[in-house]
């Protein structure tokens, strides 16, 4: 039998048993779709994190109190208390030529009230440099003024959500709010913005760093966020920070400097591992689909005994019968894979509609890998039934006695 005829015969056989064909196609397409959709979620998470970090700029550094031996890891939570970072530490960094902007950060929580309305809010103490480092945008008014960071002042910039909750549709600019027992005049409202690096920028109040230190009665900083002059200066800036703070801290390496690249590569490693893990789990469903093909084909061999027996009795070779069944398995897995791709892309469109901020994306490798795995499992699991069909004795197959 010619290859073309084997192919046509297999197609005719598949359309001749529609229920069986549809069941196998369903299993195979769901397997392929799940591999592609799960990898697309992993890839989407990677892109999301990447986008969040790069939206800050590409040459940001974070200075944390405490020493961590692992780049990108957290500073020690237990054991010896690290030396605190101070405002003077932050100010000393501004003198380095490779460092552009420095924003000391103090974070705390305090009740904010206005006109009888009261609410617990995250308070962020920082300087004017934060505006450019975090690439913030103002909805109304202006950001913190450029001033001596060691001197506090009674001004505050509030997030969009706080503004709506406390002031409603009224203008907040110029109003005096109370944070704990101190009064601050609202000079600006941040533009509506979602979560960024785990901090909801619409749900906080920003005040000068010295005011925050006074408010929370502390001389230490939570972090220092700084920006190197450009991407090439990141390493020099990191070394300068380590050197400067070491000098200031009695020659002790007691801080951790994390570059944006280090954070990104750590996330990249974690999310890549996660993507491969979910892809692996999904691949099991492809193997299950392959086993289903085998089972259905085995049943089919016994159901089609007379057909196979006839083919062999009239002169078809064992290998011709084997190829007919293998071709059926290959066609089933190929059409199943194509349907799976269609389902996966449809699912992706639905996810994009439901979560427009999440950059879901099906990577090309996952399309290729799932189609290849589908073909491989389909053909591999098709071998046993095909061999059984090829080995069928034509006389026994056709015997009714």
């Amino acid at each position: 039998m010619k290859i073309k005829n084997t192919f046509i015969f297999s197609i005719q056989a598949l359309s001749g048993y529609p229920a069986r064909t549809l069941l196998v196609l369903l299993a195979m397409s769901m397997g392929v779709a799940s591999v592609m959709l799960l990898t697309s979620l992993g890839e989407g998470a990677k892109r999301y994190v990447n986008r969040e970090f790069t939206s800050l700029g590409t040459h940001i550094l974070f200075v944390l109190p405490g020493r961590s031996e692992t780049t990108g890891g957290p500073p020690p939570m237990l054991g010896q208390t690290p030396r605190d970072l101070t405002l003077e530490d932050a100010l000393s960094l501004t003198r380095n030529p490779s460092i552009g902007k420095v924003a000391p950060i103090v974070v705390g929580s305090a009740p904010v009230s206005w006109n009888g309305k009261d609410r617990e809010v995250t308070i962020l103490g920082t300087t004017a440099d934060m505006f450019e480092i975090r690439q913030l945008a103002m909805g109304q008014g202006r950001f913190l003024p450029v001033q001596d960071p060691s001197r506090g002042s009674g001004v505050a910039v509030i997030g969009n959500k706080i503004k709506k909750e406390i002031f409603g549709n009224r203008s907040a600019l110029g109003e005096w709010i109370r944070i704990q027992d101190r009064r601050f005049q609202v000079i600006g409202v941040l533009e509506k913005k979602g979560q960024s690096l785990g901090l909801d920028m619409s749900d906080l109040v920003i005040i000068p760093v010295a005011s925050a230190q006074s408010l929370f009665n502390t001389s230490s900083l939570f972090r220092i966020m700084l920006e190197a002059n450009n991407r090439n200066d990141v390493q020099a800036a990191k070394e300068a920070v380590l050197r400067t703070i070491k000098e200031r801290h009695d020659n002790e390496d007691d801080i951790t400097v994390i570059t944006q690249d280090a954070i990104l590569s750590t996330f990249d490693r974690i999310l890549t591992a996660l993507t491969f893990t979910v892809a692996g789990i999904a691949a099991i469903s492809l193997a299950v689909a392959g086993i289903l093909i085998m089972n259905v084909m085995l049943i089919s061999v016994s159901q089609r005994k007379s057909e196979i027996g006839l083919l062999k009795a009239i002169g078809a070779t064992g290998s011709q019968v084997l190829w007919v069944f293998l071709t059926e398995a290959a066609i089933l897995s190929m059409i199943g894979a194509i349907l799976g791709i269609f389902i996966a892309y449809s699912g992706m469109v639905v996810i994009m509609r439901l979560f427009p901020d999440f950059p879901v994306h099906i990577p090309a490798w996952s399309v290729a890998a799932s189609v290849f795995t589908a073909q491989l499992t389909g053909i591999l699991f098709g071998v046993l039934p095909a061999r059984r069909a090829a080995a069928l004795d034509p006389v026994l197959a056709l015997s009714r006695r």
Binding site: M1, Q12, Y17, A313, I314, G315, L398
Partner: protein, 236 residues
């Protein structure tokens, strides 16, 4: 004796070895000329199925000689190389059930055999349509097997058995599922085809309705055949 058709001499078949050996055929002699339709009759366990398998080149005999046309197939332990090709090219099969492939139409069911042999599809289908015309089922050429009556299905199965113009056709109970009228019609067709295509046809049967139609009958009992002249009645 003709040098065409089918000729077997002293055909023996033994299953098993030693004490458990069973002699299914104990020296069968048989000869069917081209254009002739003979009956093969025997009770269960007589060796009828074994003889049919040997004739169909599905199993090999232990001893004896068999020729198809001018070609020696078996000769006391010697056999032709490719029994499968022999089955495909020299022997036509008609079974008790039509065994039509359910997802192929009537033409493709008949054309399947030459296609298997690698003949071009167009030629194979042309041959199939010619036979369907000869068997008066050409009007159902595009129908699926499930749309045919029992008689039509059996005629399509006969066309499939004849499509490669084999010198020998083995028909195993071809009329068993049919009523008298259709059974006799099938025998008429077989006689006609045997005559038209110079084919030697052996019909294995228990069917009392068709036994009177054979001019010669082979009875098989305990692995041995006996020849008998039949009535050769013609039913119109």
């Amino acid at each position: 004796m003709t040098d065409k058709g089918i000729l077997i001499k002293g055909l023996k078949k033994r299953y098993g070895k030693g004490d458990t050996a069973v002699d299914a055929l104990k020296g069968v002699d048989m000869q069917v000329s081209p254009g002739e339709v003979v009956g093969l009759i025997g009770p269960s366990g007589s060796g009828k199925s074994t003889l049919l398998k040997c004739l169909g080149a599905v199993i090999e005999p232990t001893e004896g000689r068999m020729t198809l046309g001018n070609k020696v197939i078996y000769d006391n332990g010697w056999k032709v190389n490719d029994l499968r090709a022999l089955r495909r090219d020299k022997i036509g099969f008609i079974f008790q059930a039509p065994y039509l492939i359910p997802f192929l139409d009537v033409t493709d069911n008949v054309a399947l055999l030459p296609m298997l042999a690698g003949k071009p599809n167009a030629d194979s289908r042309k041959l199939a349509v010619e036979l369907l015309q000869a068997l008066d089922v050409a009007h159902r050429a595009k129908a699926m097997p499930s749309e045919l009556s029992g008689g039509e299905q059996q005629r399509v199965a006969i066309a499939r058995g004849l499509v490669n113009r084999p010198p020998v056709i083995l028909a195993d109970e071809p009329t068993a599922p049919l009523d008298s009228e259709r059974a006799l019609a099938v025998i008429r067709i077989l006689n006609h085809m045997a005559h038209q295509y110079e084919t030697a046809i052996i019909v294995v049967t228990h069917d009392e309705k068709i036994i009177p139609t054979f001019k010669r009958i082979y009875h098989i009992r305990d692995g041995v055949t006996y020849e008998e002249a039949g009535e050769g009645r013609v039913f119109e």
